[in-house]
């Protein structure tokens, strides 16, 4: 019965979520087009319209995130892996645990939800920076705001086409849950033990891990903040306006802090969860260290902005940092290693 409830929840997520993300796509396309029009034609009406469209995208992203959160809650409520009685007794005698079942407390940023979460965080950063800085005050800052809107629009479009969390919600987890219920239906204790053995470690060290609730979201919030730094650095290349450095630096501070703590928190998790496995110097680790050292260099060079050539050098370094960030994110999908999505 609980599996049926889970399937019903999954269907509901697709039924409600799919229209929401489709509207996000449409509004993102409009946002991108209107913001581009503003950048080319310098039309103030286009700027005002893009500000409204950005707010709509943000609200829709929040709505979609609430749907995702509800689905995760339903997974927790409906799916319960009940241990066979002999196993529960064995665990009680050897491990001293009185647990007789396991539930999935799955974080809200796994599988196809990752890019969605990143986009949501970016929209919130844009809302905050639009509130903090009066972008409409000058033509150049209004252009900056439009460039940020184009970035958000690009993220919205990318999310729809490459990482739509509503089209087929959590496909990997769904396979594991379905596999468990299929094994339970066979009626052979050995099959059930085998399925439980596989799932147990996945749940303890991955899905339900406290690190999973802290390490990835810190990194995604950092990534979102560093998108703003990137756009600021691009503008720094063309205009020597103090406000671009101020915006870049204030977002780099948030990004760097979360990046550092997020990466550090990943270390003890790796030591425990990947004990005996070959994870050190794998491509994702290399990429993460590369990204971190480059952002450290950016923060160092930024101290001497007033010196000759340092403005430009800092801007270029900030852009390279962001390219390394995107590359590091993609490594999960394009490179081998323990972080690879295919493993």
């Amino acid at each position: 019965m609980s599996y049926q409830e889970y399937l019903a929840a999954r269907d509901t997520v697709t039924t409600i979520g799919q229209p929401v993300i489709t509207i996000i796509l449409i509004v993102s396309l409009l946002l991108g087009a209107v913001s581009l029009y503003h950048m080319v034609m310098r039309d103030n009406r286009a700027y005002m319209l893009s500000a409204q469209l950005r707010k709509i995208v943000t609200l829709l992203l929040i709505l979609g995130f609430i749907i995702i959160a509800w689905f995760h809650l339903r997974i927790y409520q409906t799916i319960e892996l009940v241990y066979p009685p002999e196993l529960a007794n064995y665990m009680a005698s050897t491990m001293g645990t009185s647990a007789t079942s396991l539930r999935f407390a799955v974080p809200l940023w796994i599988e196809t939800e990752k890019l969605y979460f990143w986009t949501l965080c970016l929209s919130i950063f844009l809302a905050v920076s639009n509130y903090r800085y009066d972008f409409i005050r000058t033509k150049i800052t209004a252009l900056f705001s439009s460039a940020m809107n184009i970035m958000l629009a690009a993220f919205g479009i990318l999310t729809y086409y490459t990482s739509n969390p509503f089209r087929e919600p959590l496909p990997g987890l769904h396979l594991e849950i379905t596999g468990w219920y299929q094994a339970a239906g066979v009626g052979d204790p050995n099959v059930l033990y085998g399925a439980l053995y596989q799932l147990y470690f996945r749940i303890i060290y991955f899905y339900n891990s406290e690190y999973m609730w802290t390490h990835p979201p810190m990194l995604f919030i950092a990534y979102a903040s560093l998108v703003v730094t990137f756009v600021g650095c691009v503008f720094m290349l063309f205009r020597r306006e103090k406000i671009f450095d101020r915006i870049s630096y204030s977002h780099a501070k948030v990004g760097y802090l979360l990046l550092t703590v997020g990466m550090l928190i990943g270390y003890p998790w790796a030591v425990v969860a990947w004990e005996g496995k070959d994870w050190w110097w794998d491509p994702k680790i290399n990429g993460s260290i590369m990204m971190w050292v480059l952002y450290s260099a950016y923060l160092h060079t930024r101290i001497y902005l007033k010196r000759r050539n340092m403005w430009r050098a800092t801007a270029i370094l900030g852009i390279i940092c962001f390219l390394s960030l995107v590359f590091t994110y993609l490594l999960t999908y394009i490179a081998p290693g323990i972080h690879a999505i295919t493993q």
Partner: protein
């Protein structure tokens, strides 16, 4: 007599920053090489991580990265303690420590020499942090303010402890404990360095009668 160093303090700091940034970028390039090597090897020999090849790869990456970690530590050693030690003495001491590190590497191995350098760095950075927090000595910083200075010294001490823990204590039972000490220092140090105004407000809120240090 030590010859006079004819570099203005600001220029000296600037070149140190350039050295630090350059070393950081080179470490990034080493990581890029690691990505390429791992990916290429995985294409040609899919099970290579189960063989000795993986151990050799780890060793080669460590050997490539260690010299730049040493350079980074030297840069940190020349940058942070300049607040308590005259620059000329600092350069002389830095050269001496670097020579000793090199000598230990020749006699023993790179790991031991790096552990030596890290241990010295921890002592120096810890001394700077304590003196900064107590407000002692003729400390000069690129950016002024008690919380920025304290944060900066905590951040650098945490970084050195983290590298020491990683290089020399990976098999120790204290490994994760020391890791968390470093993590707390780095986190608190970064927060204080980046948000000194907010830290001051919190300090004033917690101790309403006191003046900001």
């Amino acid at each position: 007599m030590t010859p006079e160093l004819n570099i203005k303090p600001k220029t000296y700091d600037f070149y140190l920053m350039l050295l630090t940034s350059a070393v950081l970028v080179v470490i990034g390039l080493v990581c890029l090489y690691g990505i390429g090597y791992y990916t290429y090897t995985n294409e040609t020999a899919p099970q290579w991580t189960q063989t000795q090849m993986y151990g050799d790869y780890i060793d080669s990456m460590n050997q490539l990265i260690y010299p730049f970690v040493v350079l980074l530590l030297v840069a940190l050693g020349l940058c942070i303690p300049k607040r308590i030690v005259p620059r000329q003495s600092l350069l002389a001491a830095g050269t001496g420590i670097l020579a000793a590190t090199f000598l230990i590497a020749l006699i023993t191995n790179i790991g031991t020499s790096l552990a030596f350098l890290l241990a010295v760095s921890i002592v120096v950075q810890a001394a700077v942090m304590v003196l900064t927090m107590l407000g002692q000595g003729a400390l000069t910083y690129e950016r002024e303010g008690y919380f920025v200075q304290t944060g900066s010294s905590m951040l650098h001490l945490g970084t050195v402890i983290f590298v020491f823990d990683f290089v020399s204590m990976r098999t120790s039972e204290l490994h994760l404990g020391v890791f968390w000490v470093a993590t707390i220092l780095i986190t608190v140090g970064t927060v204080l360095s980046f948000y000194p105004g907010e830290a001051g407000n919190i300090a004033r809120f917690l101790r309403p009668g006191s003046k900001s240090p």
